[in-house]
């Protein structure tokens, strides 16, 4: 651990630097270089920030789900590994809320000028909102649970969320094919090749950013856990030294 930390720090700073560089290039591509879209005008540039957040918001919940399963598996077998899994689960959950929330907000801010409505209750959007609500409730459940049970309760809720989200999508999708609703969003056909650089640079940039904050948050959680363990150890040692 002594040897690893300085190297880890350098790697982290390097990653941070590259991420910022990629994001700056992405910004330049999105705003200045890529041509303006014909029908929507400049407001379409929101898409280059909206898409990465929306897509990444669907990936981080899986990280949380896998970490939660790992936690439940290791809970009785190897508590230390379980603790690490739990740290990753909570980090992934927070990053999910962040990315999904930004995806929702940017989507709404784009939809109003582009299509005239803030929201539509179609399968995709409703499921997305639900995902956000589920993970907010995950974080609240963790915060309000008695300590010692936060990991278990969180993991259980994570299982519920993982099963519920696809079901919600399918049920509303089925419902909407019965009653067609306003369909909007970037669907139908691919993306014009002149837009592709902006999409790729921003996707790469925000993915790198996502990994950065996920691992940073994970490291923070581990740091807290270790500090707690040491405090507990100190307390035990102190109680053993009570003079007879």
């Amino acid at each position: 651990m002594e040897q690893r930390t300085p190297t880890l720090r350098s790697v982290a700073w390097l990653w941070f630097g590259i991420t910022i560089a990629v994001l700056v290039v992405g910004f330049r591509q999105a705003i200045f270089l890529v041509p303006t879209e014909a029908t929507m005008g400049n407001v379409q540039r929101i898409f280059y920030y909206h898409l990465p957040h929306a897509v990444l918001g669907l990936i981080f919940p899986y990280v949380n789900f896998i970490a939660s399963l790992a936690y439940l598996f290791w809970r009785r077998r190897d508590p230390l590994k379980a603790l690490t899994a739990d740290a990753l689960a909570v980090a992934a959950a927070e990053v999910t809320v962040l990315f999904v929330g930004i995806g929702l907000l940017s989507g709404m801010l784009w939809a109003k000028p582009a299509w005239g409505i803030w929201w539509a209750w179609d399968a995709r959007l409703t499921t997305y909102l639900l995902l956000w609500l589920l993970y907010v409730s995950y974080l609240l459940l963790r915060r309000y649970s008695p300590s010692g049970q936060t990991g278990t309760f969180g993991a259980v809720l994570s299982v519920f969320a993982a099963i519920d989200v696809p079901i919600v999508y399918m049920s509303i999708q089925w419902w909407r094919t019965q009653h067609p609703a306003p369909v909007f969003g970037p669907n139908g056909g691919g993306i014009d090749p002149s837009f592709v650089p902006a999409v790729l640079w921003n996707m790469a940039g925000w993915a790198m950013w996502g990994v950065l904050i996920l691992l940073f948050r994970f490291a923070l959680e581990r740091r807290r856990q270790l500090a707690e363990q040491e405090a507990a150890l100190v307390a035990i040692e102190a109680s053993l030294e009570i003079p007879q």
Binding site: L130, L140, Y144, S145, L157, V159, I167, V168
Partner: protein, 229 residues
């Protein structure tokens, strides 16, 4: 067979306890009645029969959802006094039997409330169902079970949490969404007769599928929740 006996024992225990105080059922009834009256005042249902039929399904289920939330929180507090929960943990019967017994008891309570609420709805909303009313005897229990099974589970999760009353609706509503959609659509379909029987049948099948999936998950995971320390 012993498993079933355990479930029935837990069920009988909850029914007996509730019968002695009856505050859950009274609370639910009163709440649901209040919702009916408020919506009646807001929408003036008797003057607009078509619109009333279209929204009654949704109003009914919203009323039941919120009424059952008030009762579900209470259903576990019974287990907290006198350290009963510790005794339950040490009992040899499987934890899921405790869960099922309690969920079934809650189901019976909410069904009782529905039985009282239905005539009130019909009277205050001048409701005249256009479709096959007997389908409602299938939809109502299936829908209620969907709410109750998840509600009992999440109420147990929040048992020693600080903001218990906040946690249950926060957890229950997103998870119940597919079931709510199915039960409201099916009920409205029956009331308005705008959906043909095949479509209503599909909604009922979806509801049944949801019930099976989530009952299984709750039974499997309850042991973990009860022995969380």
């Amino acid at each position: 067979m012993t498993y079933l006996r355990h479930v029935l024992d837990h069920l009988r225990k909850d029914l007996r306890l509730e019968w002695r105080s009856r505050d859950s059922i009274n609370g639910m009834l009163f709440f649901a009645l209040l919702v009916v009256v408020v919506f009646g005042l807001a929408f003036d249902p008797t003057s607009y029969p078509t619109i009333t039929r279209q929204i009654s399904g949704a109003i009914l289920w919203v009323a039941l959802l919120f009424a059952s939330i008030t009762a579900l929180n209470q259903s576990w507090t019974r287990e907290q006094s006198n350290n009963v929960l510790e005794a339950q943990r040490m009992a040899p019967s499987p934890a899921s039997a405790l869960f099922l017994g309690k969920a079934l008891a809650n189901l019976l309570f909410v069904l009782t409330v529905e039985a009282v609420l239905a005539p009130i709805f019909i009277v205050f909303f001048n409701l005249h169902a256009l479709g096959n009313v007997w389908l409602l005897t299938l939809i109502l229990p299936l829908g209620t079970w969907a709410l109750v099974v998840n509600g009992t589970f999440f109420a147990a999760l929040g048992l020693r949490a600080r903001n218990r009353e906040l946690l249950l609706p926060l957890l229950l509503l997103p998870v119940s969404l597919p079931a709510l959609l199915a039960m409201v659509q099916a009920t409205t379909g029956v009331l308005t007769a705008e959906l043909d029987p095949i479509q209503i049948g599909t909604w009922i099948k979806q509801l049944a599928g949801y019930d099976i999936i989530f009952t299984t998950i709750c039974i499997l995971l309850f042991e973990t929740v009860l022995n969380a320390e």
